[in-house]
């Protein structure tokens, strides 16, 4: 570069300025409202302006820091082919049938690597098509026509469960253990596959639970949910493909561990941490559910707002690069989270007239795009260096030193997750992010985070699983669903003729305690199921990358499409794959973006609700002790983050750029 500027900073700053300007200018078309009733335009206008300012700051920070090395050329051909495949998939999956689309798609994706010959690509495409058809259409009963317009397909698994179920109708206990196992097994499977998460699986299986006894049905459905929390970390660690918000954090250090040949210990840490957290969460549920649920009711809109602000500010630790860029990524994430219908007025925002965007962008598409697809594009830059991903698998199990390192993070993660999971207004979402930030702050070697720190896997995985267990507390004791999966569980209760609410413990003690007991059994089953699988998963990594990545692209497309059968969810993978690739290339990390995305809608919802209820008086945030404390902590977090950089003359202690 001829200029005095760092290209990285100049370009990424420019992207943020452009994105911020788009949101701010578009927001001018929506009402800003008053403090009492904030309009749909208020938050986007504010955040868009903040993003523009941050973008300018980032560009300016590159002054007198010209680039040291010349970056590798972007893999134009690979990028065009992969994005082409994703768009092709979206355009044709509805009309042309599953088999031809997957066949052509995987052939084209395989050709994105210069190492793959046409013959090899054809063989790979055929193998992948058979595999995808078996897994998604036959196994999971995804309803897409196999060959063009024609008949749908029925699920084999569902039929098997249903018929086996009617056979086992004598003894109660063996049945429940059996269904518990089926639940956690299915949960693990759908957790491993990106896209099809617990929500979709529970929704698909809901109808068949009608014929089961209430306890059995709920035990199985609960098993799917917490089973998926175990399975979700697997693909995040192995191939950087997080299936949901909680495993996005695991991907940061888990994937780096896998790259260094430590996939085994990473997976084992995830399983053990989850088991410990699951056990503690279950105990909490058993002994303290009613008082905890009552206490959580004191958490109202101002408290949630304050909690989310705190969560966002401490999460700057998610990135190991520049603070400014991490902040800009959070704000961009917040803005992306606002795409869709405003819940207060119904006004569609930033939807560009596309009806499918009314319900907002899909989290899985965004995560799969910025993590999975972006990583593939990066690997295509330098193919020879990365063909076999794992250099040398040292050991599958944890060393003594590893055990020492994970003990404290697991306990802290469990504590954090348990508390956050109880809050019905979205606390569970924060669990894994909060734990990661805490571990990085507390670590004596924070520079290892982002490069394969085992604490970065242990803490978040435990937090996530603890929250998964305790998020049953508001449902079981007050009948309040904390998130969409719990809302489906309400549906399951109702199907069984039980309305979940404060009466369940008294009216249905057998059911209540049965479900709780089954959760611990389920956690034991999960550990028994997952630990032996580690060897198998790690072997998968020895598949050459050039054969693995076309499978990842196709899995991502099929998985995202299967959630809502919405082709815009597929296009979004391609779009965010490119966006993620560009941003990572210019030194911005994707994790804060995802956190912003999941928290954006909640931040706005609770801010606006708090202001309506206080009739426009912002003092409400400071008058209430819990919210005032949380906001105080947030302020403290900012001071701690900013202080050293002032004291050491902005010597960039936080920048450990690679």
């Amino acid at each position: 570069m001829v200029s005095n500027f760092s290209t990285k900073d100049l370009v990424s700053g420019g992207i943020f300025v452009a994105a911020g300007a788009y949101f701010a200018i578009e927001a001018l078309n929506y009402e800003t409202g008053t403090a009492f009733r904030m309009g749909p335009g208020f938050m986007p206008l504010l955040l868009g302006s903040v993003l523009v300012a941050l973008g300018l700051g980032i560009a300016a920070s590159g002054w007198k820091k010209p680039d040291a090395e010349k970056p590798l050329a972007p893999p134009w051909r690979g990028m065009a082919l992969i994005i082409g495949v994703i768009v092709f998939f979206g355009l044709t999956i509805r009309g042309s049938g599953f088999v031809p689309v997957v066949l052509i798609g995987s052939f084209a994706a395989a050709m994105a690597s210069r190492l793959n010959s046409p013959l090899f690509s054809i063989i790979l495409a055929v193998a992948l098509t058979v595999m995808c058809t078996l897994i998604f259409v036959v196994g999971l009963g995804m309803s897409v026509p196999m060959f063009g317009p024609g008949s749908g397909s029925r699920s084999a698994i569902m039929d098997i469960i249903a018929s086996l179920g009617s056979g086992f109708s004598v003894a109660l206990d063996p049945i429940n253990i059996f269904y518990c196992f089926i639940g956690v097994l299915l949960g693990t499977l759908v957790g491993v596959l990106p896209g099809i998460g617990p929500t979709a699986t529970i929704a698909m299986l809901l109808p068949i639970t009608f014929s089961l006894s209430p306890a059995t049905a709920l035990i199985m459905l609960a098993g799917i949910y917490y089973g998926a929390q175990y399975g979700g970390s697997t693909t995040a660690i192995l191939i950087n493909l997080p299936g949901e918000s909680s495993s996005a954090v695991t991907a940061i250090d888990g994937y780096q561990m896998a790259k260094k040949g430590r996939a085994g210990p990473a997976l084992a840490t995830a399983a053990l941490g989850s088991f410990f957290a699951g056990t503690v969460g279950t105990l909490l549920l058993a002994f303290f559910a009613p008082p905890l649920a009552r206490a959580a009711l004191n958490f109202r809109a101002p408290e949630y707002f304050a909690l989310i602000v705190l969560g966002l500010l401490v999460s700057i630790a998610l990135a190991h690069g520049s603070i400014l860029k991490a902040l800009a990524m959070i704000v961009l994430g917040l803005l992306l989270g606002m795409v869709g219908q405003d819940i207060y007025t119904g006004q569609p925002r930033f939807t560009m007239g596309i009806h499918e965007l009314y319900s907002g962008l899909n989290f899985v598409s965004l995560a799969v795009g910025v993590f999975g697809v972006a990583e593939i594009l990066r690997n295509l830059e330098n193919e020879k260096g990365r063909d076999v991903m794992v250099k040398a698998v040292k050991n599958l199990w944890l060393s003594k030193d590893d055990f020492k390192r994970i003990a404290a993070p697991v306990i802290r993660g469990t504590a954090l997750g348990s508390v956050l999971g109880i809050l019905p207004g979205g606390g569970h979402i924060l669990a894994s992010f909060a734990s990661y930030s805490a571990e990085k702050r507390l670590s004596k070697t924070p520079e290892e985070f982002g490069h394969g720190a085992i604490e970065g896997v242990a803490g978040p995985e435990s937090a996530n699983n603890a929250a998964a267990q305790t998020s049953f507390i508001p449902l079981m004791t007050l009948g309040i669903p904390a998130h969409p999966v719990m809302a489906l569980m309400v549906g399951a209760f109702i199907l069984q003729g039980i309305t979940p609410g404060p009466n369940v413990i008294n009216d249905q003690p057998a059911l209540f305690w049965g479900i709780i007991a089954s959760m611990w059994i389920g956690n034991v089953l999960l550990v028994l199921l997952n630990l032996p699988l580690i060897g198998l998963w790690v072997k998968m990594l020895s598949i050459p990358y050039r054969a693995l990545f076309p499978a990842i692209v196709l899995f991502a497309c099929i998985g995202c499409f299967s959630i809502n059968q919405n082709i815009y969810d597929v296009f979004a993978i391609g779009f965010f794959g490119v966006v993620g690739y560009v941003l990572i290339r210019f030194g911005c990390e994707p994790a804060p973006l995802l956190l912003g995305f999941v928290l954006g809608p909640l931040l706005e919802e609770h801010l606006r609700r708090a202001m309506i209820i206080s009739r426009g008086d912002p003092m409400v945030f400071l008058e209430r002790p819990i919210s005032a404390t949380l906001l105080g902590l947030a302020l403290l977090a900012v001071i701690i983050a900013v202080l050293p950089s002032i004291r050491r003359k902005r010597k960039e202690v936080f920048v450990e750029d690679d």
Binding site: L297, I343, G425, P474, I480, P481, G501, P502
Partner: protein, 246 residues
Amino acid sequence: MAVAPNDGYTLLLHHIGMSTAPTLYRSLPYDPITDFAPIGLITSVPMTLVARKDFEPNTLAELAAYIKANGENVTYANAGIGSASQLCGMLLMDALDTQMTTVPYQGAGPAMTDIIGGQIDMICDQTTNTTSQIRAGEVKAYGVTTLTRLPNLPDLPTVKEGGLEIEIGVWHGLYAPAGTDAAIIAKLEASLQKALTNETVVSRFAELGTLPVTAEEATPAALTQTTASQIELWRAVIEAAGVYAD
């Protein structure tokens, strides 16, 4: 759904929203009348007026007077744009000729959380969401929006008894895509009729505070009529309130 294959295997179970969407959304991509082949009504879920348990008024008459006196100082929760609770709120404010402060939520669950937590004053929601909370004494109940009292909440008066002219039920209907073969529709209609007399279905419905519709109502003709007349009814209410979803 409007563009799904009309082979009788893809069906839509939709509710009162079918009749409010054409007015709430000024650019709806489908037509509820011409794009669907109705099969029959299933049930009509009653709505109940409930409030936080320490809310001042104790009877329906006191509630009406309290809302009139306090107007915007009363907070009314709804489960989102186009939800039954939003519609019931419109009717209530229209009947009392008073505006309350509406606080929208994403779904009935979070809304009920804040009623139980005492953060919001009141909501009018379906018995499926409120019955267990009413029985547990977690909320104060004022009335039910049906013409007669409900068998599983016999102490709860109807709003008519309390002098309020509101009648609303969240009707649910089963639809196939337009152009579905008449023989298939007839078969589905027969299956629906059979399901609605199934003992388990009836008892589960009853526990939730609702009843299956009569055999005459579980027919394509009745659902066609209901869809059309409800669209007209809600057009008037929504246009009067001036609340749109886009």
